[in-house]
Symmetry: C2
């Protein structure tokens, strides 16, 4: 009996836990995706809050250190410092961003979020009021348990009026 037990124990070293069923795996994948979507939704809400409070540094902290920002009609900004510097030129006092998520796809530690946005800001400093609608796509990656923005691109639904000439003196 002792020998049988030993043989079985040896056989079971290779077994470890029984492989989960396809159903169990699907349920686990779904739960992981749901959890990722909730975390990304929460981070997106913070993104909006920071834009509307003109807190470029806080927006920058949502990005991975080597993240990439791709704004329309402006060059790409790579890395936190460049991202923050670019965001400072784009978040206007009194500006209001809204995001409407249309889809979030998750696979493991990678997620892609897509949706539409609106951005409005009052006229200021010789600049006309801003009233823009458009669409965005974000690549999020889970790093040390935290979902961070790796790539962020958006564009407008219509051409924006060119900046007016500086006011005459």
């Amino acid at each position: 009996m002792m020998r049988n037990t030993l043989v079985l124990a040896a056989a079971c070293l290779a077994c470890q836990a029984p492989a989960p069923s396809a159903e169990q795996q699907a349920a686990e994948t779904q739960a992981a995706a749901d959890s990722a979507k909730a975390a990304i939704s929460e981070a997106s809400a913070r993104y909006v809050r920071y834009v509307n409070a003109n807190q470029a540094d806080s927006i920058g902290a949502l990005f991975a250190a080597d993240g990439v920002l791709m704004p329309p009609d402006a060059p790409m900004a790579a890395g936190t410092d460049n991202i923050v510097a670019t965001l400072k030129t784009m978040t206007l006092p009194g500006g209001t961003l809204t995001l409407a998520s249309q889809n979030v796809s998750v696979s493991g530690d990678m997620a892609i979020a897509r949706g539409t946005f609106t951005y409005t800001a009052p006229a200021q400093g010789g600049m006309p009021a801003v009233d823009v609608k458009g669409k965005y796509m974000e690549h999020w990656h889970r790093m040390d348990g935290q979902w961070r923005l790796v790539e962020d691109i958006w564009n407008n639904d219509a051409p924006q009026p060119a900046a007016p000439p500086p006011p005459k003196r």
Copy 2:
């Protein structure tokens, strides 16, 4: 002995193949990512070829049936028919697209490609010549073994001149 063998066999029904080592898993993940990147690179080359040949239908066939095209300064187009109709207005005779891939991230059946592009086209039909540089992000998904475009967005590095007024008669 017979009984022992039966007990072992029963124990091993739960074992199946021994779990691959972490090293084996990493190698398999890397091989899958390399294979995905090669397939996406090949599909991207076709995308460029079709744009430059003004074959909007062929570009549309690179997309998933419910794919989404998000061009700059224009509304989103969802579904193959709308994507092809939008592409027909954007691919100009004599136009030349180039893409430079900067990064492709892969996780399972999902991939994100990012890079820069140039597009030039000669003046035609009262429209000035086009000379645009910008950046793009693409979401690819493997469906039935085929990598397809699910979401495709790009924007320009500088504002584009507004279309000129129609010629006077």
